[in-house]
């Protein structure tokens, strides 16, 4: 049913993405594709996979942005511009516009944990939900003719046949820098909620009125290298015996 849950869902499972930490390696993109092409629903197809016009369905993508402060200069490495790597997947919005426009009832938001899913057997592939989403979180699979989107790895997070440490979305599990975190954002005591509170986590395009569950943590302010405390010369006066001799010889040369 494409009506949204009438009350706020008791759990709001989602991701918190730390833009300060992400290095833009795209490991989450590949891990997501790998897990989800063999998991829930139709495979994530590629078109012309070995040709020049290759394209394919992905549920998670990483953009990289250059952000220039007001009046800032872009001069090679000494400029004031900074690069921010920006992973983007479905935000599992509380007021998900993609759900209500669905004519068939294929799109729905789960009343218990807030995950937005597509029942692929009911999807006619009209593409209206992708039009309704301001974030570009939904991509039509051109081979299966059905809409694909992030499932928050529903086949991992509740999967009791895999080790507990793996019961998080594939992108979160694979991130080598811990830039992605999974948890319940309805619970103020959860790690993700604390992170959002401490770091000033924000919504993407709040003006669209979608009330996303996923939050982003801003990059920390950049510090000037020169203003950092200089590296102290180490004190070696406590050295004895052979190490004291090596120390004094190395000082001499």
């Amino acid at each position: 049913m494409t009506s949204l849950p009438s009350e706020s869902t008791p759990k709001k499972l989602g991701l918190v993405i730390d833009l300060d930490v992400c290095v833009g390696c795209h490991a989450c993109v590949i891990s997501c594709k790998e897990w989800n092409t063999g998991g829930y629903g139709a495979a994530l197809s590629d078109q012309d996979p070995y040709g020049g016009a290759v394209s394919g369905t992905f549920l998670n993508r990483v953009h990289s942005y250059e952000v220039v402060p007001e009046g800032g200069e872009v001069v090679g490495e000494r400029g004031e511009a900074r690069i921010v790597h920006f992973p983007k997947s479905c935000l599992h919005c509380e007021d998900a516009p993609c759900v209500t426009v669905c004519p068939t009832g294929a799109s729905y938001k789960r009343a218990d944990d807030g995950i937005v899913l597509v029942e692929e057997d009911m999807c006619i592939g009209c593409g209206l939900c992708a039009w309704a989403c301001p974030y570009g979180a939904r991509e039509m699979d051109l081979s299966a003719g059905v809409m694909k989107k992030c499932t928050l790895c529903i086949d991992r997070i509740y999967n009791e046949t895999i080790p507990e440490i793996d019961r998080v979305p594939s992108c979160v599990r694979t991130c080598p820098t811990n830039a992605r975190h999974f948890g319940d954002l309805a619970d103020p005591g959860s790690d993700v909620s604390k992170m959002v509170a401490a770091r000033g986590g924000f919504d993407l395009m709040p003006e669209q009125g979608t009330r996303p569950v996923n939050k982003y943590l801003p990059p920390r302010p950049r510090r000037n290298l020169a203003s950092s405390a200089p590296v102290q010369v180490e004190d070696t006066s406590g050295a004895r015996g052979l190490l004291a001799w090596v120390d004094s010889m190395l000082d001499r040369i």
Binding site: S64, V67, E70, I83, T104, A106, G145, M205
Partner: protein
């Protein structure tokens, strides 16, 4: 937005068809005349052809029947339901006019009202999408309804002139609706100049740091999002095309219909036919621009 031919044909053809059906439903045309019977068939063909065209872009059209289920929330579903419901009085009245030489007043009026509701639902599919600033305005359904009515009145005046009924009133109504439709359209197009609701800064949330520019896209080639939502048209071509749409869709039919008022039925028929053709061509271009000029919020990420 990518201007898909199937959708442009659908909205143009069914818009004209519903407009014609709505005017026929008022019972102003002589049901004994052959031209009126042809008009009823043509309206149904335009509507049916448009609806079939609209299913061509589906990934799984065999499941299209499911689209009738979610009328509580989805304008697309409402449109599907209303299209089917509208067929009932339209077909009843068409059958009666064609085979029994009799206009059914209640079926006719029901057809008129339901045709307008269906066109409104079609327009609301677009107008309800907040992610597309250009469409998210009451001016969108207003222009769809007026274009539909103008086309319907013009086409009806053509069939009336071809038959025996009085047609000048219909032609004048068509001209008035035409002017109203384009007035709304101009206001709609002026909205495109407004500051967009979302920007790369709000899309990334990085506006607090500074101006945001895409440094490296997530993919080198086009993907579904960029080919569906990322259609770009050069401003100079857009304004040229809009002038073409304006000339064909407003100026030409207005002049032709005006001259037709002073001619006998035979000459008027030819001019009104040309007016309807010009109007159809103009609306096709207008609908193409409706998609091509609309910018989707997701493009703030690209």
């Amino acid at each position: 937005m990518h201007p898909a031919l199937s959708i442009i044909v659908f909205t143009t053809a069914s818009g004209l068809g519903y407009g014609l059906a709505a005017v026929l439903g008022l019972g102003l045309l002589d049901p004994l005349s052959w031209s009126t019977k042809i008009a009823h068939v043509l309206a149904l063909l335009l509507i049916g052809g448009g609806l079939i065209s609209s299913t061509l872009h589906l990934g799984n059209p065999q499941r299209a029947w499911r689209a009738l289920s979610q009328w509580r929330t989805s304008w697309l579903s409402r449109e599907g339901v209303m299209a089917l419901v509208t067929f009932v009085p339209l077909t009843l009245n068409a059958f009666s006019v064609i085979f029994l030489d009799r206009h059914l007043i209640w079926a006719g009026l029901a057809g008129t009202v339901l045709a307008a509701v269906t066109v409104y639902c079609t327009a609301m599919i677009y107008a309800s999408l907040k992610a597309i600033d250009a469409w998210h305005t009451p001016l969108t359904p207003a222009s769809y309804l007026l274009f539909s009515g103008a086309g319907g009145a013009l086409a009806a005046s053509l069939f009336a002139a071809s038959g025996t009924g009085p047609w000048a009133g219909l032609a004048i109504a068509g001209m008035l609706l035409l002017v109203a439709a384009w007035a709304v359209k101009l206001a709609w197009r002026n909205r495109l100049q407004r500051r967009p609701r979302s920007t790369p800064e709000t899309a990334t949330g990085l506006g607090a740091i500074g101006k945001v520019r895409l440094f490296e896209p997530p993919h080198i080639n086009d993907n579904y999002l960029t080919s569906e939502m990322g259609f770009r048209i050069a401003r100079k071509h857009a304004s040229k095309l809009f002038r073409i749409a304006f000339a064909a869709g407003l100026v030409a039919p207005l002049i032709l219909a005006f001259i037709a008022l002073f001619l006998p039925a035979g000459g008027a028929m030819v001019l009104l036919a040309l007016a309807v053709l010009a109007f159809g061509a103009g609306v096709m271009v207008e609908r193409w621009l409706f998609f091509a000029e609309a910018r989707h919020a997701v493009m703030n990420y690209y």
